[in-house]
């Protein structure tokens, strides 16, 4: 039903990482439960709502649980123009999210400032927070957001979890 590549368990990682089985399994759990923090700032917020609404239904990916509290969310979707006045707030919200966390810059304004080349607008949210996936479009279609989510999931699927942790060292798995 789905393409194989959507699962984090692919040969590429198996080749790269040693702790494949455990890590891949854990990464699989993690990537299927990405709870977004909707940072709805402007027009893109409406399309973000559309992503959550019935037609595009982000819940299929297990991500419909939009938490407005940064502490409970995994992935911040910056949707809309980030002005300088808002930038501090945004940064603070990002800082409040617990690790691991991801950022999607949705739309032109969030990614680069877009059409607002003006004194008030931050030219790209990646100036203040690390962005994992950029989405072009003004605003992007919901499909693009879903694509970005899939991209994020892929990315999460590749991130090792146990590596470097105390547990791994205890299990003496590091050497292999």
């Amino acid at each position: 039903m789905q393409a194989k590549s959507e699962y984090g368990y692919n040969s590429k990682i198996e080749g790269d990482v040693v702790l494949t089985t455990v890590d891949a399994a854990l990464a699989w759990f993690r990537k299927n439960s990405v709870w977004p923090m909707p940072m709805g700032l402007a027009c893109c917020a409406i399309e973000l709502m559309a992503v959550g609404a019935s037609r595009f239904d982000i819940s299929r990916f297990g991500s419909e649980v939009m938490r407005f509290s940064p502490r409970q969310s995994d992935c911040m979707i910056v949707a809309g123009t980030v002005t300088y006045k808002m930038a501090g707030v945004l940064k603070r919200v990002y800082d409040q999210m617990p690790e691991p966390k991801w950022v999607i810059a949705m739309g032109a304004c969030a990614s680069t400032g877009g059409m607002y080349r003006s004194y008030a607008v931050l030219q790209g949210v990646d100036n203040i927070v690390p962005v994992d996936v950029y989405i072009g479009g003004c605003p992007p279609r919901p499909e693009a957001v879903l694509d970005a989510l899939i991209k994020i999931q892929e990315k999460i699927g590749k991130q090792p979890i146990l590596q470097g942790t105390v547990a791994a060292r205890l299990l003496n798995l590091q050497e292999k």
Partner: protein, 353 residues
């Protein structure tokens, strides 16, 4: 008291807690799925481990129903950074989630979930004051929320905590009052006895429908479910008392909320809908065979699930109340109604006697 008792009790505890945990996990999924269906959506359907699709028929089905979603959520929380915001009162910040989970789990101890298998009664503790016990334990549940609100050192959780303490205390009264007619009718506080009475006289919901309504509404309020979800009202208080909680601690609050739902549903089934009994197929008396015993447990579970679905369903129907309206409803509508209900029942019993 002997070893038998202790061993069997431990086994029962283990099984019940395990089942409740599973129920909780899947009620979260049910919540998401049912809300999706109500809203013309599909709901989680892509979460499946790679091997799932190799299962012949089951695989796609499990995937479509999102059966692995709770697993994913739970484990994700487990591996999330355990975050302690600055300025919180640490001990309470850590204690609060635990305190809110424990009472929710303890409540099920006195609920008879089946008649008996072999010589073992299908209840962990057959207390004489079973109903009172439940109320006592339920009243402990508020501490978790209040402490969470207090510990977070933030204003939104604080509001959530204050609101919920007031709300839970208020509705506990209506809840307690609503049960009194049952006690008047049955004349016993033991939940097993209440079920026994129901198997010979018919379900109590027929005798005390008003009690049922009050109890149900009060349990909605006690479990902080819409339309009574003020303590966590998302659009007002962001997340209420658990705004500042993340990762596993937040998951524990989630667990507590749904465990409370399970407990409330179980109480409703036990008190009003005859517990594990069914009026036909000979299911209305204690089981003699193993199969019968299992079927009765199944009956109980099915009834309980029905109420869980109601719990979930209602959430997607209504706007929530305002704080003062909620209090008004509790104190000025339901409390007098419950009192009148007691009076009516007492008079009715007096006339009949």
């Amino acid at each position: 008291m002997d070893w038998n008792f202790i061993i069997f009790s431990l086994v029962k505890i283990a099984i019940v807690v395990g089942v409740v945990q599973g129920l909780v996990a899947y009620s979260v999924l049910a919540e998401r799925k049912i809300s999706a269906w109500i809203q013309d959506r599909v709901g989680p359907n892509r979460t499946a481990p790679p091997f799932a699709k190799y299962l012949p028929v089951l695989g796609p089905l499990l995937t479509r129903w999102g059966m692995f979603q709770p697993l994913a959520d739970g484990l994700k929380f487990l591996f999330k950074e355990d975050f302690t915001p600055a300025g919180v009162k640490k001990i309470y910040f850590f204690l609060a989630p635990a305190i809110s989970v424990i009472p929710a789990m303890l409540t099920v101890a006195v609920i008879p979930f089946g008649s008996q298998i072999g010589a073992q009664k299908m209840v962990i503790a057959d207390l004489n004051v079973g109903i009172l016990y439940t109320f006592g334990i339920v009243s402990m549940g508020v501490y978790g929320i209040v402490l969470a609100g207090y510990a977070a050192n933030s204003k939104y959780p604080m509001f959530g905590g204050i609101r919920s303490s007031a709300q839970m205390i208020s509705y506990e009264i209506s809840m307690g009052m609503s049960v009194i007619p049952l006690l008047l009718i049955v004349g016993n506080l033991n939940l097993s006895q209440i079920i026994g009475w129901q198997s010979s006289h018919g379900w109590l919901v027929l005798y005390a429908p008003i009690s049922f309504v009050i109890f149900m509404v009060a349990s909605f309020a006690e479990t902080n479910r819409t339309p009574f979800d003020l303590p966590e009202a998302e659009t007002e208080l962001v997340g209420g008392y658990h705004t500042e909680y993340g990762s596993m601690k937040f998951a524990l609050f989630f667990l507590a909320e749904y465990s409370n739902m399970v407990a409330s549903s179980a109480m409703m089934v036990t008190l009003f809908f005859g517990g594990w009994t069914l009026p036909f197929w000979g299911l209305d008396h204690a089981a003699t065979s193993l199969g019968m015993g299992l079927v009765q447990i199944l009956v109980f579970l099915v009834k309980m699930l029905f109420f869980m679905v109601i719990f979930i369903w209602v959430r997607w129907m209504f706007p929530r109340f305002r704080y003062d309206q909620l209090m008004d409803l509790g104190w000025r509508r339901f409390l007098p109604l419950a009192l009148v209900n007691i009076l009516i029942t007492a008079v009715w019993l007096w006339i009949r006697s």
